[in-house]
Amino acid sequence: MQKESELIMRTLDQTIEEILTLAAAHFKVPRAELAPDDDFFKKLKIDSLQALELLTRIENHFSVELPDYEMQGVSDFRTLAERIQARL
């Protein structure tokens, strides 16, 4: 668990950018091809198990935990970032 002195305060835009960067790196696509409102299943051509891989990377990166049922109905990076932001 992060100490209070180590907490990094992020804006939603920063969180979105970090998630896009993580997704680009994990699925080996150019960062420039991803946009916040993209449907990540369609854009990255991934299924739910691969989405859980991304969720794991996001959780590790932000040091948060997001129950995967909170991803129900979430298919774009912006909404995913909002879910993560709510846990920071």
Binding site: S48, L52, E65, D68
Partner: protein, 267 residues
């Protein structure tokens, strides 16, 4: 060195450590083929108990340790059978897999599951039968059976209850959520969390450490510390069969098997 290769799993014995490698694409689904290999492995384990100190189970597939029961085989095996025939077939499979996992659980050797990626359902139950779990950062644990109207059937609930606080078990079983390796480590389920791709290497180092110590002492400690909940394991089989008999479960299995959706694994 002693080696054996099956269709879905292979094992070697080298310098007192037995390594079981799971390698059935796409993600080591546990159906009749994997079960047969695991039964062969357990027989080998029994014969090698005087020559080895530790066992490491791992997967060579990038997707993960194991996605659990082969639901496609389960569904297809149910077709054209009466309710009684279905229950008999499933019960027989469960009794066989329980025998395998109970043998691993009770092994006089110290067992280590080195896991990564998808470690779901029966795959998680296989890992839970080991003494220690070493997980890399990609590992994710889940009992998705809830989504099919089932409970874990390979001994997951009694073994989770043995290892974790009841509140955590309730969270997992009543929401069907997955947890990452960090969380699993925090709650005490995972012994070590390591960098991506390093679970097997760290498991080998751990096995080397284990081998330094007196065998009889290790075995005595293990038996004392790790009771096997045989009565609850049998009860789990009964409950699983009761739930499986419901028409809604077959419908859920059909949807899963026929699904082209991108989100069958998200609750």
């Amino acid at each position: 060195m002693s080696t054996s290769t099956g269709k879905s799993a292979s094992w070697t014995l080298t310098d007192g450590v037995i390594e079981l490698e799971l390698h059935r694409a796409p993600c080591n689904e546990i159906g009749s083929v994997m079960l047969e290999d695991l039964e062969g492995f357990v027989a080998f384990l029994e014969g090698a108990r005087e020559d080895a100190d530790a066992v490491i189970m791992h997967s060579s597939l990038s997707a993960g340790f194991s996605a659990g029961a082969d639901l496609r085989e389960l569904y297809s095996g149910m077709q054209g059978l009466t309710r009684e025939e279905r229950e008999a077939g499933v019960r027989k499979f469960l009794e066989r897999i329980h025998a395998v996992l109970n043998a691993l659980d009770a092994s006089p050797l110290t067992t280590i599951a080195a896991v990564h990626g998808v470690t779901f359902g029966g795959g998680w139950e296989l890992a839970l039968a080991s003494d220690l779990i070493v997980a890399d950062r990609t590992a994710r644990f889940c009992f998705p059976e809830l989504r099919l109207g089932l409970i874990p059937g390979f001994g997951g609930i009694p073994r989770l209850k043995r290892d974790l606080g009841n509140a955590v078990v309730r969270d997992l079983l009543l929401t069907g959520r997955s947890i990452n390796a960090t969380r699993a480590h925090t709650v005490g389920l995972v012994s070590q969390v390591v960098a991506e791709g390093q679970a097997l290497a760290v498991a080998r180092t751990t096995a080397a450490q284990i081998r330094k110590f007196d065998r009889e002492t290790r075995l005595t400690a293990k038996k004392f510390l790790k009771p096997i909940p045989y009565a609850e394991l049998r009860q789990e089989i009964e409950l699983f069969c009761q739930l499986l008999a419901r028409p809604a479960v077959e419908e859920s299995l059909r949807k899963f098997v026929e699904s082209t959706e991108t989100m069958p694994y998200l609750p």
